[in-house]
């Protein structure tokens, strides 16, 4: 058996694997080595390190940042369901096919155009500061309410487009099959199209909700002390940017697992489809 073809193949594969691991190790060591050796040689490294990578400040501020991040999570948790519902409603508006529902369709189009077209931060300013001024009294003028609404309106426009693409991806024959059984339009949607459409766009929506999680931070511009504002407060007090690095770390800890998982779901779906 020593020189059988099977053995040749296995030996070859083993050698290939060994070679690849060697290359991987060497190149990784080289790249990181270069980063760790070269950057500290820069004349301003000490200053940058003090300003951006100050361990002491990181340790001191991290717990508070983490606490502030709870507010991000809370805002996220009440916005996400609202966004999903509103997004779905608007997607259904845009999908309206009967000519009598044309105004709904137009409404959906205008809505998504406006809220996808303006930077989130402007919407947050305009709604977060504008609506309360219409004469609402506490607690109804809270920036939490109106800031959240700004996020909900903006993101539901994106989510609506995702739902719509999901609805359109359900093959026309599925609708035809359901209709040909005599089911009314609402049942066709509810039992046949939506269950399939929603399942398909879960990964895309997860990516959207990662983006939302990051944009919750924009609420800080109208008052709420969430993680970005808290980092900003520390930055001002300590004249040091390390708290931002701390915030970045916290964000990565949340967003990487979710994006990875969404990517995994998308890849699985693509495999299943082909």
């Amino acid at each position: 058996m020593g020189s059988s073809p099977l053995n040749i193949r296995q030996q070859y594969e083993k050698a290939e694997r060994r070679r690849s691991v060697t290359i991987a190790t060497v190149s990784t060591v080289l790249v990181f080595g270069a980063l760790f050796v070269l950057i500290p040689l820069a004349p301003g490294w000490e200053r940058v390190k003090k300003s951006f990578f100050n361990t002491e400040i990181l340790v001191d501020t991290f717990p508070t940042l983490l606490r502030a991040f709870l507010l991000d999570i809370a805002i996220f948790l009440w916005c996400a369901p609202a966004i999903a519902l509103l997004g779905l409603a608007i997607a259904l508006c845009r999908d309206a096919r009967s000519p009598a529902l044309f105004p709904l369709k137009i409404f959906g189009v205008v809505y998504t155009d406006i809220f996808r077209g303006v930077p989130v931060i402007l919407i947050v300013f305009l709604i977060g500061f504008g609506v309360p001024g219409l004469g609402l009294n506490r607690p109804w003028n809270s920036p939490y309410i109106w800031g959240s609404l700004a996020l909900i309106l903006t993101y539901s426009a994106y989510v609506a487009e995702i739902f719509r693409s999901g609805i359109e991806s359900v093959h026309e024959s599925q609708r035809a099959a359901a209709k040909s059984l005599g089911l009314p339009h609402s049942d066709v949607m509810r039992y046949v199209v939506l269950p399939q459409a929603i399942r398909r766009v879960i990964p895309a929506n997860m990516n959207m909700f990662v983006a939302l999680q990051k944009d919750v931070a924009l609420l800080s511009f109208i008052g709420p002390v969430e993680i970005l504002r808290q980092a900003g407060v520390y930055k001002s007090l300590l004249a040091n940017f390390t708290p931002y690095v701390g915030a970045a770390i916290i964000f990565l800890a949340v967003t990487i697992p979710i994006t990875r998982y969404a990517d995994y779901l998308i890849a699985r779906q693509n495999r299943a489809r082909s």
Binding site: S51, N141, G223, L237
Partner: protein
């Protein structure tokens, strides 16, 4: 006089019997020490308590809250009786909000790093023109830079003092304009090698920079506050607080 003033504020505050005062988050040295206005330490914190007392509120009737400039100029109900945060009084702002009579007249000062000074920058308009300028976009420093110094290249703008200073550290800008106490503080503490190059005197004829308390437009409390502030100015209390908390400003050359 005390009694009359005290009655003046009755029924006009946000919460009956309390005086709600807003400041920034964070509040900066030397206006408020350690970001803790309730300690009464720092120029604005001390002014706030003196004013409260003058208006008939005990120290424990003072409630602190925080509000940014944007939150203060948003239309609609405010969450504070007044906001003191080095707001400069300007004509345009007066159209949207109310200001009290001034409680401080700020000299504006030029902050640079030692390297810039070594390279030959001097306290003359001629020399300042050639520098790369930065400023806090939310303050009146920007119009001053543009109207008085008229630099050769457009200034870069930032959201707060710290970002301005960071841009200086990164050598992206040479000079920035702050009110004098802030400039002295940033130059001495935040920048390792900061130098206050010169100042524009507070009592200059055109566009003096004066800080006032900011209130919702038409706030009934305004007359009470103005009266109390005038009393504090007249009886020397304000000057005493200024002497206690703000550094000596002599020795900074006047820009020609």
């Amino acid at each position: 006089a005390q009694a009359a003033d005290a009655e003046c504020a009755v029924g006009k505050t946000l919460t009956e019997g309390k005086l709600t005062i807003a400041t920034g988050n964070p509040a900066y040295f030397p206006w408020v020490m350690d970001n803790d206005p309730a300690s009464g330490k720092g120029f604005e914190a001390a002014v706030a308590y003196a004013l409260a007392e003058e208006m008939g509120f005990a120290a424990d009737a003072v409630v602190w809250t925080s509000a940014s400039f944007d939150q203060s100029i948003q239309p609609g109900a405010k969450d504070f009786d007044f906001n003191l945060q080095q707001f400069s009084i300007t004509e345009e702002r007066e159209k949207v909000v109310d200001f009290s009579v001034p409680y401080y007249s700020a000299a504006m000062a030029v902050l640079v790093r030692q390297g810039t000074k070594d390279a030959g920058a001097t306290a003359t308009l001629e020399s300042l023109k050639g520098l790369k300028w930065g400023a806090d976009a939310n303050t009146t420093a920007l119009p001053m830079v543009q109207s008085i110094i008229q630099p050769d290249s457009d200034p870069l703008l930032y959201d707060d003092n710290t970002n301005v200073v960071e841009a200086m550290k990164a050598n992206q800008i040479d000079a920035a304009l702050f009110d004098l106490p802030t400039a002295l503080y940033l130059g001495a503490v935040v920048l390792d090698d900061g130098v206050v190059l010169g100042q524009f005197p507070a009592d200059r004829a055109e566009s003096p920079d004066q800080f006032g308390l900011l209130m919702e437009e038409g706030n009934a409390l305004k007359t009470c506050i103005d009266a109390a502030l005038t009393t504090l100015a007249d009886n020397g209390t304000l000057a005493a607080i200024e002497a206690e908390w703000l550094q000596q400003t002599t020795g900074v050359p006047v820009i020609k």
